[in-house]
């Protein structure tokens, strides 16, 4: 299939898009920003005769906050996220992670919904959503499903999204203090690289400030899907923080990973580097609290 043989359907509204999908979900493939889809079409890892181009649906491009809930329309681009005053004040982690996704030319086109649908295990946009315990909203012509992000990803490049559904929204609770969540990625160069390992950590400080009363640790690129390091979280919850404790937590997280060896790194290397990247992330959270509380 050459690009010239593919037809493109461009619905005007979400409703139209969903009814097109309902009628021919077996033969049409949605495309948003296209930064992954067009590459897959060129490389023929994706074959289709028809594309449903939803990139023009303005109704799915918004970033809102209502009370403590932040809602991001699925067609928001990573540039929209990086520039959003709402996200810069209510979830810096997602902004920082978005800055590391590709480069400016890609951030201007790539959408958060497209990133989720593409389900790359190394996608830098995804671990922050695990750390935020985000909800993915999907719709078909009949109705809406709200899926916790952890249940949305089923296996390597497999999601719970059905062929007649579109991702419409990503929502989560705003981070109370903007610096109580952080994202770090490790790669082979400074810009424009695919993560060897990445980590997103969300915390709530215990009142006395010596431990976390709650914590979520998400690790990317170390398993077929992003994972929550739940044993590591349990170990750190309400435990007084110290060098040894943080290193030990990293060892536990490493034990929870199931990385593969590929062209970028060996499984052994990935497992070995997890404690270091977690150490760095936790210390960054501790440092931000000190900065935050400095009068």
């Amino acid at each position: 299939m050459r690009l010239s043989d593919i037809d493109v359907v461009q619905p005007e509204t979400l409703r139209d898009a969903l009814s097109v999908l309902h009628e021919r979900s077996d033969s049409i493939k949605p495309i948003a920003g296209g930064t992954d889809t067009i590459v897959q079409l060129k490389e023929r890892t994706l074959q289709t005769r028809k594309l449903l181009d939803i990139s023009g649906l303005g109704e799915l491009r918004y970033i809102l906050r209502k009370g403590s809930i932040v809602r991001i329309g699925a067609l928001s681009t990573y540039s929209d996220i990086i520039q959003s005053p709402i996200l810069n004040s209510s979830c810096r982690m997602l902004v920082e992670a978005s800055k590391t996704i590709g480069v400016l030319q890609l951030q201007n086109r790539a959408t958060i919904g497209g990133n989720l649908a593409n389900a790359s295990p190394a996608g830098d946009g995804i671990p922050p959503l695990y750390a935020l315990a985000a909800t993915i909203t999907v719709q078909n012509h009949k109705g809406t499903r709200r899926i916790p992000v952890e249940r949305f990803f089923v296996d390597y490049r497999k999601t719970d999204l059905r062929t007649d559904e579109l991702i419409t929204e990503i929502s989560f609770e705003a981070v109370k203090k903007p610096f109580d969540a952080t994202f770090l990625k490790l790669g082979l160069r400074e810009a424009h690289f695919i993560s060897l390992v990445n980590v997103a950590v969300w915390i709530r400080w215990a009142p006395e400030g010596a431990s976390f009363s709650d914590i979520r640790v998400a690790l990317g690129a170390v398993a077929p899907v992003v994972i929550r390091a739940r044993k590591c979280e349990e170990f750190l919850r309400n435990r007084t923080l110290g060098e040894d404790v943080i290193w030990q937590a990293g060892q536990i997280a490493s034990g929870e990973s199931v990385p593969i060896s590929d062209v970028r790194a060996s499984a052994e290397y990935r497992r070995a580097v997890i404690p270091s990247i977690l150490y760095k992330a936790v210390n960054r959270l501790i440092d931000s609290r000190r900065m935050w509380e400095r009068p």
Binding site: V8, Q10, T35, I38, L41, Q105, N108, A191
Partner: protein
């Protein structure tokens, strides 16, 4: 399966009849004879096909022509002033930032976009803005000097 698409290219309205899933880059080069943007990798790694779409740098090899319907597209050619290089293009020449020249149209577009949103960019701003453009000749030092020079002369 041809359809007609219209958009603004370097300040003038253009209209082409084409299959809808051709890339914007293919249309620019093959149908409209605008050959500044180049296809090198074809998958979003090199930046040689960078153009402005509605004021923002994007990769024209990863935009379908149907997605460019009604958009405003500017290529490196669009920044020329009466057929002569503008201040950014001149700064690239003056600073020896061009060797084989293949990647330069992409660098020009990324630089123009940077300087229009941030007239006095820091070194870090310049590196971030150009991170999506690869050059295999210069080692980037002369390109960065050219951008700094252009910023001073703006």
């Amino acid at each position: 399966m041809e359809r007609r698409f219209s958009f603004k290219l370097n300040g003038r309205e253009v209209s082409v009849s084409t299959p809808p899933a051709y890339t914007l880059l293919e249309i620019l080069r093959e149908k409209l004879d605008v050959t500044g943007p180049k296809e090198d990798c074809g998958k979003g790694e090199c930046g040689a096909c960078t153009v402005l779409m509605n004021g923002k740098p994007v990769l024209s090899c990863l935009v379908l022509i149907s997605q460019a319907q009604g958009a405003e597209i500017v290529t490196s050619e669009g920044f020329m002033r009466d057929g002569f290089p503008d201040y950014v293009q001149k700064a690239f020449v003056d600073n020896g930032a061009v060797q084989c020249g293949h990647c330069i149209p992409g660098f020009i577009v990324s630089t123009e976009a940077l300087l229009s949103r941030s007239p006095n960019p820091s070194l870090a701003d310049i590196k971030t803005a150009l991170a999506g453009n690869l050059c295999r000749c210069t080692g980037y030092a002369s390109i960065i000097r050219a951008v700094e020079d252009a910023a001073r002369k703006k």
